[in-house]
Subunit: 731 residues, 2 copies
């Protein structure tokens, strides 16, 4: 019965991929518009593809080195199982693929969306949204495909020597490795793409908008194409890889927790392992239904469009609440109601964070308006109040995650704090619940950049301003719906990372058993068998408590890592943007006729500058995320690593919210002024707000979103290297 239910997972995957393909074909059938529009789209597409190829080359080298290391650890030192390198590779490959397909779709969709906007807001929405749905469905489809394939393979080939319970432990923790592959790919995509896009964006804005006084996406701006390419490689491809990673991470972590929680009851164990996968698979189908529910009449105004998008998301969410209970009942998992409570808790936390995000970043509310207000006294006060408000905005998301953690733990644990493993499973499944309808929430997120790009295309093709206004309206609409999506992404990252902490300890256990450390002996003559040791036994054995200097040192370094990582990526954007500014200034000065529109600027040179900047600057921060957990493990052992993970998680999570919200609020404060408030476009307040927005660019699109991945990648690396660390310290 349960094994039959398993086949729902590949089924969900295939369905998602089929519908993605259908939507893609539908979009391709639309007209690209005028020749100019097609030409510009072609340029952007060419630039984006050129960049992404370049990036994949660099990432491929990194993957090659890491894979070889894993192979050596497995076949040479025998401190890791033999499947790890393969799982790692496919995780990276599929994550990259998800980003690639999303980006390909987006670059085809922008001109078509712009062209449809010539007809109506509604038809434009449909193309943009369906193209966003391609990305959403490709991400979940590929993730479930990868998960299904590996589960089948490992289930077939891994022996049940240590008992059936042990076998599923090995399978699920091995599968976490492809989470590491996905995270590695995602980090490179976010950091590289983020640097590319923001260097171009900041550079284009600083010279174009502020110095030369030409509008955004003006074809006379040499950085305009690079800016549009950036939206695709950063916001689209980066986001795709990122959410592929989050989605896989939450499912795989929960599966591993399920295997650990029911180790001794092998009948239940299998169900607990496939439950998160099944919920995700059903969520995928519900997402497709939700996507179809997004329909409006031809004459819909913006409010109706908003309502229609919301209807789709809400429908999928409500259905998943119902269906997840059904799945749990069908699986006949013990305490199904409790686990269901955890899932619902997760959904509420996601919605809560989304609402707070909206409150702090939308200019319908006080905080962003206050930031706009402070623009009257110049850029310095815009920056001060933006940073202050952004820092304050972390309060409620953290409280929600805290409450969500406790509740989802307690629900699944039957309100018993000592029922650790079931409680942790609850935390994991809460994250799965949040992301289960990623197919549609990602669609509402991804269509924003597509609309943005369509606007760029319209502007550069010289279409009348009302087209731009329509695409801007879509973009703004997307910002609001995307807040919920971001809430789910941030909340699930925190919960998943927490869940991964215990996977780390499980992997330490497996590592000990592998090298024959079958007994944990405590100082006073007491001992327990490694195989049956509880998480608390490991805490005691390794003294992973808050008075252990190694733990404290780890926490400090973890906190610092989050800041250092942001510092590196911020500086990278600053440096690349400076080069871009110099180049744009040079072109304006040396190439006569650019500003009167008689000569076309050298777009390619600007794309090249962003590409080089991104390639050069993305390596150090990304590699640090991989290397530091290993160094800490070697120097300070297991307690140091646990400290590192908690430190980077807590600081990184808060820092990520701060950066995302600050950037978002600055962006919308500027838009608020541009809508005619406080002096409107061209006023001093507007100029001050543009400076705030520019500072916010790397906040919200480079450093902030990368932090979520950083946190999880460091956990994944620790998990995958756990066997090595155990062996290093014991042998």
């Amino acid at each position: 019965m349960e094994s039959n239910l398993f086949w729902f997972i590949p089924l969900g995957s295939i369905l998602a991929l089929i519908f993605a393909f259908v939507f893609f074909r539908q979009m391709k059938r639309e007209s690209e518009g005028t020749d100019t529009m097609a030409k510009i789209a072609y340029h952007v597409r060419k630039g984006a593809m050129a960049y992404i190829k370049q990036q994949y080359k660099v990432v491929a080298i990194v993957f090659l080195i890491i894979t070889m290391t894993f192979a050596f650890l497995a076949y040479g030192l025998h401190v890791q199982n033999n499947w790890v390198w393969g799982a790692f590779l496919t995780g990276g490959f599929f994550s990259g693929l998800a980003g690639f397909f999303g980006m390909k779709t987006a670059t085809y969709a922008s001109s078509r969306t712009a062209n449809a906007a010539r007809k109506s807001l509604n038809s434009s929405l449909r193309i943009a949204f369906r193209s966003g749905a391609v990305m959403g469905l490709v991400v979940v489809g590929l993730a479930l495909l990868d998960i299904s394939i590996w589960f089948i393979i490992l289930n077939r080939f891994i022996g049940s020597a240590g008992g059936e319970g042990h076998k599923l432990m090995i399978i699920t923790t091995t599968m976490l490795t492809f989470g590491m592959g996905a995270s590695t790919q995602a980090l490179f995509a976010r950091v590289g793409g983020g640097i590319f896009t923001k260097a171009a964006d900041v550079g284009a804005d600083l010279v174009g908008k502020i110095e030369a006084g030409i509008p955004e996406d003006d074809p006379r701006n040499p950085a305009a194409i690079a800016d549009n390419v950036g939206d695709n490689v950063g916001d689209v491809a980066g986001m795709g890889a990122d959410l592929y990673e989050s989605y896989c991470g939450s499912i795989l972590a929960t599966a591993a927790l399920g295997a650990a929680a029911f180790m001794s009851e092998s009948a239940v164990q299998f169900k607990a392992v496939i439950a998160p996968m099944l919920i995700a698979a059903v969520g995928t189908i519900l997402s497709i239904i939700g996507i179809y529910a997004v329909r409006t009449s031809e004459k819909a105004d913006q409010k109706q469009l908003m309502g229609s998008l919301n209807r789709g998301v809400t429908l999928s969410s409500v259905l998943i609440v119902v269906f997840s209970l059904l799945i749990l009942k069908l699986l006949n998992i013990p305490n199904a109601l409790g686990i269901w409570g955890s899932i619902i808790t997760g959904l509420f936390v996601g919605i809560g964070i989304g609402k707070v995000t909206e409150y702090y970043t939308s200019h319908s509310f006080k905080p962003t308006r206050a930031i706009a207000e402070s623009a009257k006294t110049g850029p310095a006060t815009v920056i001060i109040s933006g940073l202050g408000t952004g820092m304050l905005s972390t309060t409620f998301p953290v409280l929600f995650v805290v409450i969500g953690t406790i509740l989802s733990f307690l629900f699944s644990a039957g309100f018993d704090f000592s029922n650790m493993r079931l409680g942790l499973y609850g935390i994991g499944i809460a994250a799965v619940g949040m992301l289960s309808t990623l197919g549609i929430t990602l669609a509402t997120d991804a269509y924003g950049p597509i609309a943005d790009n369509a606007g760029g295309n319209a502007e550069m093709s010289g279409l009348p301003p009302e087209i731009r206004r329509r695409t801007d309206a879509l973009d703004a609409l997307g910002n609001t719906t995307a807040a919920t999506g971001k809430g789910f992404a941030i909340g699930s990252a925190a919960l998943t990372a927490l869940a991964l902490l215990s996977s780390y300890i499980e992997e330490i256990k497996i590592g000990m058993l592998r090298i024959g450390e079958n007994v944990l002996s405590f100082g006073n003559g007491e001992f327990v068998k490694t195989a049956s040791a509880t998480l608390m036994d490991f805490m005691r054995y390794y003294e992973i408590n808050l008075m252990n200097p190694k733990v404290i040192v780890g926490v400090f370094i973890g906190s610092m890592m989050a800041f250092m990582f942001c510092g590196l990526t911020m500086n990278a954007v600053g440096r690349a943007a400076s080069k871009m500014v110099d180049e744009v200034r040079r072109q304006f000065k040396e190439i006569k006729g650019i500003l009167d529109g008689s000569v076309e600027p050298d777009y390619e040179r600007c794309v090249e500058i962003s590409t080089k900047g991104a390639q050069r600057e993305m390596l150090l921060p990304s590699l640090l995320a991989i290397i530091v957990p290993i160094i800490i493990g070697v120097v300070f052992g297991v307690p140091g690593v646990m400290g590192l993970l908690i430190g980077s998680l807590s600081s990184g999570f808060v820092l990520a919210i701060f950066m995302a919200n600050t950037g978002g609020a600055w962006d919308n404060a500027k838009k608020f002024i541009e809508e005619g408030n406080l002096g409107g476009k061209g006023s001093d307040a507007h100029k001050a707000s543009v400076i705030g927005d520019t500072v916010g660019d790397p906040f919200k699109d480079t450093s902030g979103p990368s932090l979520n991945i950083l946190i999880k990648l460091m956990s994944m690396v620790s998990i995958v290297m756990a066997g090595f660390i155990v062996a290093f310290h014991l042998l």
Copy 2:
């Protein structure tokens, strides 16, 4: 023998206070200069005194409420000892007094320093530096006085019912309470003073410098007096209270650790308790020697002045290295050499952090120059590169603290990680070592604002510009020497906070014994006596490990607290500054003749705005620091509190360094341009750098420095309320 040695401590205190008085009288004998100079100094003094009185009134009410609460906990609920409320009060009183005396001295010294600058750079330095020394010596003198008096009183009145060892435990942990008084006072002083000064500074700069184009401290600027008042109430009085708190905190925490480490060897215990006090007392005398060593020939240039200041600090530091070994040998403490190793480690960490601070904030080095360079592309890139560089600058200070923590632990623990209590004593005494020569390091720190104010006085009195150049040179000199002082302050804050973690557990133990919980029983039938339980036993009993959701939740909230606190204080500055800007603009518009100098602006109104802003805004953040640890204790118990403390410590420490360094670097990037680089004063790059500097003001003078106090205050509150929390959960 040891009891005789004790009398060195009050002796050091009295000597410090006598010399402070002597230096104060010397300074007062100097001429105030012209009538205008005297008048301006009088205005600033009056404003500062008016503000400080107002602030003390608010703080007095807070203290009254807290004292009454403590009295109720002690006499009503019997969950706290009866001395706590008194200790708390004196701590707050002396901390305020230290700030008050420092400020009084500074407000007398500024006109005299300006007047001396008319003669020579050297005589000006002498007055400013000796006035700074008054503050340094008052802080250490009052601290040692308070410590001596309480130690004598408690030693006389607390019975040795639970044995001699237990008695010293009670004494030292009770004395920690006056650390809480000092921290509370310091937090209000830093936050209130910080908001006052930066509201005035930002307001004055935004309208004066940027809009009206008049120089800093121009008498035509209505906010000019408020700005100078602010330097005194924020930078001087705030700094005094702050360092009083750090100094007391490190000594008291170490004394408590000493009492705990040698609980069973009462002969050694007393020595371990007075060792940190003795080192501080001797350090005080060495500071006085160092202060006298700061002498230069009349014709000294800036480099020689610098050399002379450094000579004083270096002399005191080298002597303390020698004398601390002597003290430890004289006390005949076991492993004296190891403990000495910890002290030296502490000194090196302080120096290391100081050097990194200098590297990242001085415009002699690459990072600050790169920020200045980025001003060429406008304010947005200045902000981005400043924030990026500031985040990066946290790397090495954290690594130094990490290495320092491990080494000072291992030296004192005889390289045995399981020798917890001695290791922790080593961490504490490393912090004491750093701060032992505070008398002189604070002098080099405090004379900066005095020189700055002297410059303000010179400007407003219409003295020729070379006078201002001389005071600016002194100020710049102070910035460099102050980097070392700041390194010691930040480093010692981190180490002290770490040391306080174990004091918390000790206080939990005392609380348990007080209510008759004499046995810790672990689930499996094992148990230990509370009185002889080790720190690790408590970790196990309360499950203070990294898999306990309560701990993790605490860590999250702790991290968030640091950000929320900064957000509140940043926004407070933003709001108050906006009001100031409006007022200055109003005066320029409505009062004709201000800008041509024929009519005096309404200075008082601006002082009032800053005062009101500071009073209103300082309450919430400060009270949160007191209330949150109690709430967490009530809801999540001991594990939650420990998590909270580690979370706020790690995030707060990194955030504090980030904010201090970012602010400092922006300040100096601006100075670099003002020295004629990259277009010099009045260029676009200069304007961009002024915006950076303005954003940096609340970073480095309000939010950043308050964080160090926040971290320790939260620890102190937890310690003082530990008895209540234990009783709450057990009764």
